[in-house]
């Protein structure tokens, strides 16, 4: 609780900031009034351009933070992150295939569900390769392989597109962006992300017990198979649906739990919701940053996230070196 209030306030403030920053200057008061109806261009810009952007940034961040914390809790490895181990990349591949081969048009939720399916395959593959204990070396190596394959297939699918502009999109799918997304995208992704959040929220008690080891957890009455299933589907739904409309954004699930872990007393159940709020705050802050630094250039979210996340990743590798040897 001590942590909840400041984090929630931060998220609320960044949400408002995200709504008031744009390529045109709209006075804050007028902008916020425009959210709640009225005629003219300001309400149009607020409701149809800035609001979906802010909602997507917040919900994508929450998905990534939550998924990172859950996977790290389950594998008991601080390097397990959806972007690094190829889950986001695979989700992006699923989304690209759905869009390029017309699957996305078959029924309403086909696009996020395809991304979910591919994310699920990636998580299954990772868990299969890294084993229940998730040793760092196998985890990272498997992640590199899956990321590389997903990235290559994404590029291939876009290069084969009949639309000459599709090639420009490779950057979007690898780096992620929430620029100029519409309420349509929110309606596509948010329900499935919410299902993912709900599933991951139920893993808290199991993850807490798991810190004592698998035998101890089972002795405490935790069904490890059920826990694993909820984690798998939860991560795939949250990351898959978010990536389907915003591309693969890396490092969120690495940075946020890392910062919050000491403050939460390293208790996985607390870290879960704290990372969801922290992730939302971080991605919104990054999205505000890309708009402030280069307002007309559509800088990708992944660029900012990698600048923050990669040094931390190096630090973590350095720290876990002893474990690897």
């Amino acid at each position: 609780m001590r942590l909840f209030l400041p984090l929630a306030t931060l998220v609320a403030l960044l949400f408002i900031a995200s709504l008031t920053v744009g390529s045109t200057a709209i006075p804050v008061g007028e902008a916020l009034r425009g959210l709640f109806g009225g005629d003219g261009v300001v309400p149009m810009v607020m409701q149809e351009i800035r609001l979906p952007r802010a909602i997507l940034a917040a919900s994508l961040g929450a998905s990534l933070g939550l998924s990172g914390a859950a996977m790290q809790g389950y594998l008991r490895n601080p390097l397990a992150e959806p972007g690094l181990i190829g889950v986001s990349g695979s989700a992006a591949l699923g989304a690209v295939i759905a869009l390029q081969y017309g699957i996305a048009g078959l029924f309403g939720l086909a696009l996020p569900l395809m991304a979910l399916l591919f994310a699920l395959l990636a998580v299954l593959l990772i868990l299969g390769l890294a084993g229940p204990r998730g040793g760092s070396l196998t985890l990272i190596l498997a992640g590199i392989a899956i990321s590389a394959l997903a990235g290559a297939l994404t590029s291939l699918a876009l290069n084969l597109s009949q639309n000459p502009y599709a090639v420009y999109e490779i950057l979007f799918w690898m780096m992620g962006s929430v620029a100029d997304r519409s309420m349509h995208h929110v309606a596509l992704a948010l329900p499935i992300m919410a299902i993912g959040w709900a599933l991951l929220a139920t893993t808290g008690r199991g993850l807490d017990a798991l810190t004592l080891g698998e035998d101890a957890a089972e002795a405490l009455g935790i069904n490890l198979r059920a826990l694993r299933l909820r984690l798998l589907i939860g991560v795939a739904a949250a990351v898959g649906a978010g990536t389907a409309v915003a591309g693969a954004v890396g490092f969120v699930g690495l940075v946020v739990p890392h910062i919050l872990r000491p403050i939460t007393g390293a208790k996985p159940s607390t870290l879960l919701w704290a990372s969801a709020l922290g992730g939302a705050a971080l991605v919104m802050a990054a999205d505000i940053l890309v708009r402030v630094i280069l307002p007309t250039k559509d800088l990708k979210l992944g660029v900012v996230m990698a600048l923050i996340g990669a040094p931390l990743f190096l630090h973590l590798i350095y720290k876990t070196r002893r474990e690897m040897n």
């Binding site: 744009g22 390529s23 045109t24 709209i26 261009v41 300001v42 149009m44 810009v45 149809e48 351009i49 800035r50 869009l99 390029q100 996305a104 597109s161 009949q162 639309n163 000459p164 502009y165 599709a166 420009y168 999109e169 979007f172 100029d180 519409s182 309420m183 349509h184 307002p295 007309t296 250039k297 559509d298």
Partner: protein
């Protein structure tokens, strides 16, 4: 241009683009002719008397063909209707069909005259493209917009050669008309931007159908102009 000026037996081979309805208004007329993909080897094997190339044809290909002793005529891309006229006349001379070219140009002048008129109220118009780019006031498209009686939003934004115009800024400038090119098949986010609800629901978005007409210096350019004029008139009628 070649298709409308040359005799059929004068044409040895056409660029692949000539048969693509998206880039060629005469795609159906091009159907009976063999095509090439613009590689030096392919062109040399045809042993033509004359090779026509654009400035954008790969330099290496052009130099190779020149070295092999082929006669090359290079056409720069056009930036205005006046240059289109000049190019048609030049092509007529090159192909030995100057009368045909003069007739075509004369007919174009008559039609252009009929299409241009004094406009008292010019609608503020954005010609909006994939990736959020807008057409500038300079160049062929800009000239055609002005000729059609439209006020180009690029003039207001100081973008003479066009450039990036964020969606939000476009909406805030409250243009009267937002022109969109014909859609491509296949999906891309760059073109999905043009389907954003904020544009579709604004009622100002107008999808142009004459895409290929904009590409080459042919009388079809005036079809594109006619479509712009018709768009402006329907806007006027709605006022």
């Amino acid at each position: 241009m070649v298709l409308m000026l040359a005799e059929p037996e004068q044409i040895a081979s056409l660029s692949l683009l000539a048969k693509d309805a998206r880039t060629s208004v005469y795609a159906d007329r091009a159907a009976p002719y063999p095509t090439n993909t613009g590689k030096a080897e392919e062109v040399a094997l045809l042993a033509p008397d004359l090779v026509l190339a654009g400035t954008y044809t790969t330099r290496a290909t052009v130099q190779m063909l020149e070295k092999l002793g082929y006669r090359l005529e290079i056409f720069p891309p056009i930036n205005s209707l006046a240059e289109a006229r000049a190019n048609i006349l030049r092509m007529g001379d090159i192909l030995g069909q100057p009368d045909r070219a003069a007739d075509i140009v004369a007919a174009m002048d008559v039609r252009l005259d009929a299409l241009t008129e004094e406009v008292t109220h010019r609608p503020l118009t954005a010609f909006y493209h994939a990736r959020g780019n807008t057409t500038g006031t300079e160049g062929l498209q800009g000239e055609m917009m002005t000729a059609a009686g439209m006020e180009n939003i690029a003039a207001m934004l100081d973008l003479p050669y066009g450039g990036s115009l964020p969606l939000e800024k476009l909406v805030m400038e409250t243009p009267d008309l937002i022109l969109i090119g014909p859609p491509y098949s296949g999906h891309s986010q760059a073109t999905e931007l043009l389907e954003h609800p904020v544009l579709v629901n604004s009622g100002k978005r107008h999808v142009l159908t004459a895409g290929a007409a904009w590409v080459c210096e042919t009388p079809a350019l005036l079809d594109a102009l006619a479509e712009l004029v018709a768009t402006r008139k329907s806007w006027e009628a709605a006022q």
